[in-house]
């Protein structure tokens, strides 16, 4: 097992910022008073002049990042995902998106991972919001290994980008030899009967479910998506044409989420197969641990199992 699986996502984030920041002096890190939550204090200590704590003022942080980018810097501006996105959406749309500034917006603890911070801190809509910004690349690494591999690719991509990040340890999906391409989804389990397209914390749940389904004779193919936009529909289409059925699984609202993007792409390309979605219905978050929240919001292995079985039977 990769040593990286023992690391937290935030440590992978900060260590990569420091590693690449050594060579690339344009890397700048911005925080809005969550340096200690993101572990970027290490970057501040290593490169104090390239670290800006903007205080609790996310809208200004995004604008400052845009100004830095206009002078050739590559700013990484982080906050909890609702504050990095919906709180400063117009700033992102105008000062970053409309101007095509190379700003990397980092939103942490997305979806139900806000856990005991509750409904005020729960971004169930951030992927939808950020995908609506023209040309914005929207990425959510599924584990620490893939993030480590994605980081240099993220750095090399000069488009505005939203990076949705789990903050702590992640369920292991990939090993060190995995090939991770920023713009390609990964088939993480081969199967023939149904395709399960998953992202975020749902990839691990999908893999566990696939093993349960296999015991009952349903051979599921699991695709791990880390880039929502542009979505790698080629990989999804190839799989769906083979299996003839598909469900999506995401730690996000169903409205405007990955499932809807997949459904639209399938329809547009005349791929008509039984289709289902696992995600959060039209509601707000609440406090609770990840297990409790997954239970009440329909993100458990059992939910995936039931949906997969239902859709498979429609074939």
């Amino acid at each position: 097992m990769s040593e990286l699986h023992k690391k937290e996502m935030r440590a992978v984030y900060t260590d990569n910022l420091i590693k690449y920041g050594k060579k690339n002096k344009n890397i700048v890190v911005l925080e809005a008073d969550l340096m200690n939550c993101h572990g970027t204090k290490k970057f501040r200590d290593a490169y104090p002049t390239r670290f800006i704590n903007c205080g609790i003022a996310e809208a200004n942080m995004i604008g400052v990042a845009a100004g830095l980018a206009s002078c050739g810097k590559i700013p990484f501006a982080a906050s909890f995902s609702p504050f990095a996105t919906r709180r400063c959406y117009d700033q992102i749309a105008v000062s970053v998106g409309y101007t095509k500034m190379n700003v990397k917006i980092v939103g942490t603890d997305p979806g139900i991972l806000a856990q005991n911070n509750g409904g005020t801190h729960m971004s169930l809509e951030d992927v939808a919001l950020m995908c609506q910004v023209p040309e914005m690349v929207v990425v959510e690494p599924v584990d620490t290994v893939s993030f480590d591999k994605l980081f240099p690719q993220i750095l090399a991509c000069d488009k505005p980008m939203y990076i949705r990040l789990q903050r702590k340890t992640t369920a292991p999906i990939f090993e060190d030899d995995a090939k991770i391409d920023l713009f390609k989804a990964n088939v993480v389990r081969k199967g023939t009967d149904i395709t399960i397209v998953a992202s975020s914390i749902m990839v691990h749940r999908a893999l566990t479910t696939a093993r349960s389904l296999a015991e009952f004779g349903i051979d599921a193919e699991v695709i791990s998506v880390h880039t929502y936009k542009p979505l790698d529909t080629d990989t999804i289409f190839r799989s769906v044409k083979k299996t003839g059925a598909v469900i999506s699984c995401e730690n996000h609202h169903l409205i405007g989420g990955m499932g809807q993007m997949i459904a639209t792409a399938l329809m547009e390309n005349d791929i008509r197969v039984p289709f289902g979605m696992i995600g959060i219905s039209d509601r707000y978050g609440e406090v609770g641990n990840e297990k409790y929240l997954a239970d009440i919001m329909g993100l458990t292995e059992q939910d995936i199992y039931d949906k997969a079985e239902e859709i498979y039977k429609k074939k």
Binding site: I52, G55, A59, G63, V64, A66, L68, S70, S95
Partner: protein, 274 residues
């Protein structure tokens, strides 16, 4: 400042004001009020005080000028065209379908525009980012940003001011166009944000208040800001719609519809050969 230089700058400001009026009149309507109030400031920056080179609009060491009150874009465009960043004839495409000169200033479309603005409160944040970038790179360029008084009702303005003061960005000069008016009336009646002097002082700025139509006073204030150890706020006491007979000193000047008669009455001399 020599009397001749003052005269030259005033003449240049008059010309840029006329160019702006003609652009707007050619389209039929536009943001003449908040444009006219900052013409002298734009003139002082581009013709006297800022370190810029129209032949190198992307020169890395140029001073940055961010028009945070992006609706005054026509004034900036006219100044840039007068300076030679692009041809004056292009000004007549303002706001036309498919134009490269949209109503609110656009850095991707207009040569010489340092940052896009229009959604109020955002330009000043970008200016703070630019000033921080200059400090990081140990570069000497300065950053100037022009903010409206009405715009200052946006909380983001004060987030940016707070960060600039706290980081002692002495390479940043914020102009406040204190014309006292906004779309719906007088700023003081709608949501009073003045006085600006004590607020900027409290956030660690050097503050200079000038007559925003006095080119000598503006230039002196800018030169003073270059020597400051703190960021500088220059409060420009201005008249909305200054020099535009049909609407000078009225909130209605924010966006004005120009009939041919109104335009003729302005007597611009057809500087753009309309």
């Amino acid at each position: 400042m020599e009397i001749n230089r003052i005269k030259q700058l005033n003449e240049q400001a008059d010309l840029i004001r006329k160019m702006s009026i003609e652009c707007i009149a050619n389209f039929g309507s536009g943001h003449i009020g908040g444009t006219s109030s900052i013409i002298e400031t734009l003139t002082c920056l581009y013709y006297e005080c800022a370190n810029i080179d129209p032949t190198q609009p992307n020169w890395a060491d140029r001073d940055r000028i961010v028009l945070s009150k992006g609706h005054a874009a026509v004034g900036l465009y006219s100044t840039l065209a007068a300076k030679g960043y692009f041809h004056k004839s292009e000004l007549l495409t303002l706001n036309q379908n498919g134009t490269n000169l949209p109503s609110h200033c656009d850095m991707l479309k207009v040569t010489g525009v340092d940052f896009t603005a229009g959604s109020l409160g955002q330009g000043i944040s970008a200016a703070v980012g630019m000033a921080i970038a200059a400090k990081m790179d140990r570069k000497k360029y300065r950053v100037y940003t022009i903010v409206g008084d009405g715009e200052s009702q946006e909380g983001q303005v004060w987030e940016a001011v707070m960060l600039a003061g706290s980081r002692k960005l002495n390479n940043l000069t914020v102009f406040v166009d204190n014309n006292g008016m906004q779309i719906d009336g007088m700023c003081d009646d709608i949501c009073k944000v003045a006085p600006f002097e004590p607020k900027y002082k409290a956030f660690g700025f050097k503050v200079v208040t000038v007559d925003g139509h006095d080119v000598e006073a503006i230039c002196n204030a800018i030169e003073e800001s270059k020597k400051s150890k703190k960021p500088t706020a220059i409060i420009l006491n201005t008249i909305k719609g200054k020099g535009v007979k049909c609407c000078e000193g009225t909130p209605a000047s924010h966006s004005v519809a120009f009939t041919e008669e109104l335009f003729k009455a302005e007597n611009t001399g057809g500087v753009l050969n309309i």
